[in-house]
Symmetry: C2
């Protein structure tokens, strides 16, 4: 078994496309993912999975159905509880670390041009 550290900046430099998460680590049935975003994602929810967004660079607004949006900056994280419909929006390119169950589908089952069925490791 190999045990290696992972450098976030080095991994983020390996890809440029937006809304395409990569798997950076796995533990306890959960995954750490890295994603770059810009623009508007699709409204969606995850019925059985809570989702953590930790901002590494940039700025993101999390829109939450029926609630005030929450603006997130580097060094801030938000946990979106299961069942809560949400939509990430970023005016500038934003780098995010996600922590969520390995079963989590990023568009929550919503079929969108942004949907990625299979995620690669970075």
């Amino acid at each position: 078994m190999t045990i290696e550290k992972l450098n976030l900046a080095e991994k983020l430099a390996l890809f440029q496309d937006h809304w395409h998460p990569r798997i950076a680590g796995e533990l306890n049935g959960q995954q750490v993912k890295l994603v770059k975003v810009r623009g508007e994602f699709v409204w969606h929810a995850h019925a059985d999975e809570d989702e953590l967004f930790l901002i590494l660079r940039g700025e993101m607004r999390m829109e939450l159905r029926g609630r005030d949006p929450i603006v997130l900056r580097p060094g801030e994280f938000l946990i979106v509880p299961r069942g809560v419909e949400h939509r990430p929006v970023a005016g500038v390119e934003t780098e995010i670390l996600l922590f969520e169950p390995a079963s989590t589908h990023h568009t929550g089952g919503v079929d969108s041009p942004l949907t990625r069925e299979v995620l690669e490791k970075v």
Copy 2:
């Protein structure tokens, strides 16, 4: 249900003691913890839990029984798989974000003066 973001620096400013993790978030049976460390922790392992260490500030050396140690700097994370005996050591004060199951006991059942039986939320 309240949905709020959390600012890591603001929360880290609220406590100063070392080797005393605080709970910063909970999702999917996992917890996000924040801890400040300096010096040597105790050798321990977690039989059923993988543990993620993300360095926010400072520098930490993770000693791993029977393996080379791994030096971690800000923006780097390490997943210590279940069953692997490990010991964090930090020459300077180091701030760490932990992701691990809510059931994880920080000294892995080893009774030490550093052991905290109950962790508070920050």
